[in-house]
Symmetry: C2
Subunit: 225 residues, 2 copies
């Protein structure tokens, strides 16, 4: 899967059918790993069982490490327009840190998502960690700023307003591009229990000069870095 790299986005000459097959093979593994993360927090089995479990997990790590990329896997795309970012912290389909969130592109500049957050996403007791809501909103708004995956944009600023506690369980997110000025996109989004809003977000996303082919203006320079 080696290939040309554009700003870390790797072109891989792998047919979509093969990528779909790899994802299907890995789905039961990552589902089991997500359940393992969850139960490792909740379990009250005796210490001997915990020690036995640790040894068994260590064996699986060794099995999987036998052939592996040495570092982060980044984002890849093929000639058919299929891309995959398996390690992404919010949406990575092979990353058990990610809930994962599946983002629905309602139309360019309007996205939503629905998912369930369990024990590993807790902050205050029984409440979704405020930082997890920030992670999901940042990601959803970033995908919204892509205007249906036609733009590359990076976060400039993000402001979160915590209006209400968000209980662990089913949550819904929504994001919209409100307006655009040059290479700057102004977005708003929310997360809450179904049908309600607990946290509001607003932010500015920037299309980098290299992606827009435009001159960089001074205001954006600091944000893009």
């Amino acid at each position: 899967m080696s290939g040309d790299s554009i700003r870390g986005f790797v072109h891989a000459d792998v047919p979509t059918a093969e990528i779909d097959a790899i994802e299907a093979t890995h789905a039961p593994l990552v589902a089991a790993v997500r359940d393992l993360v969850d139960v490792a927090i909740r379990t009250t089995v005796p210490g001997d069982t915990v020690t036995d479990a640790a040894a068994r997990v260590r064996e699986v790590v060794t099995m999987l490490e036998a052939e592996a990329h040495p570092g982060p896997v980044g984002v890849s795309f093929n000639n058919e327009g299929r891309s995959w970012n398996w390690g992404n912290a919010a949406v990575g389909r092979r990353n058990a840190v990610a809930p994962p969130m599946a983002v629905e592109q309602v139309e360019p500049g309007h996205c939503r998502a629905a998912l369930t957050l369990g024990a590993p996403y807790e902050g205050q007791p029984g409440i979704v960690h405020g930082g997890v809501s920030a992670l999901l909103l940042d990601h959803l708004l970033g995908e919204t700023a892509s205007m249906g995956y036609t733009k590359i944009a990076v976060t400039g600023t993000l402001t979160l307003r915590y209006r209400d506690s968000l209980l662990l369980g089913p949550v819904e997110l929504e994001g919209r591009v409100e307006r655009q000025e040059g290479r700057k996109l102004f977005l708003r989004g929310t997360i809450g229990a179904p049908g309600s809003v607990a946290i509001e977000a607003e932010g500015v996303w920037i299309v980098p000069r290299w992606a827009a082919g435009e001159d960089l203006d001074a205001a954006a320079a600091g944000a893009v870095g």
Copy 2:
């Protein structure tokens, strides 16, 4: 470990030595689970090996599920002033979603942390997901707002300014309480590679009325919820 609950904070009559022993027993398990999360993203072993690994992980889940809390574990504390939040998404010592971050209280109102972020925390290729930086900053500033664990405070607003890309690898965070007005604490923080700043945060934390024993003012009401 059942006990009285105050706003979800559970008093448990378990000596600190026993809590320390449970953490020590679980440390190799959660370390192995963190490595498993990481290698499940990176592995390129054949499909048969992936399927075998999934079955083995599923067995461990069953072992640990035999005796377990049914849901999120919340935050507990004992008579000796020891507290534990094993499931916390940013710092939970038994939560493989958490890197975990260990927060150092330099003095009341001033915290810092140093940790290494690997493949599971990726956003853009090779870069720490902007939302992961938001999660860590939100948590660090929340602990900073506790003024050395003497106050309970919740996030009102949080603004993140993304100045530069933050590469996966070692990162450092710092947070300070800048000033206080009534039950509102104004904080600033940063995250970056060691010795530098990639992302700046500023936010308002609020001491809830029930924790302060004061009248709730209208401006704070919306934020506390």
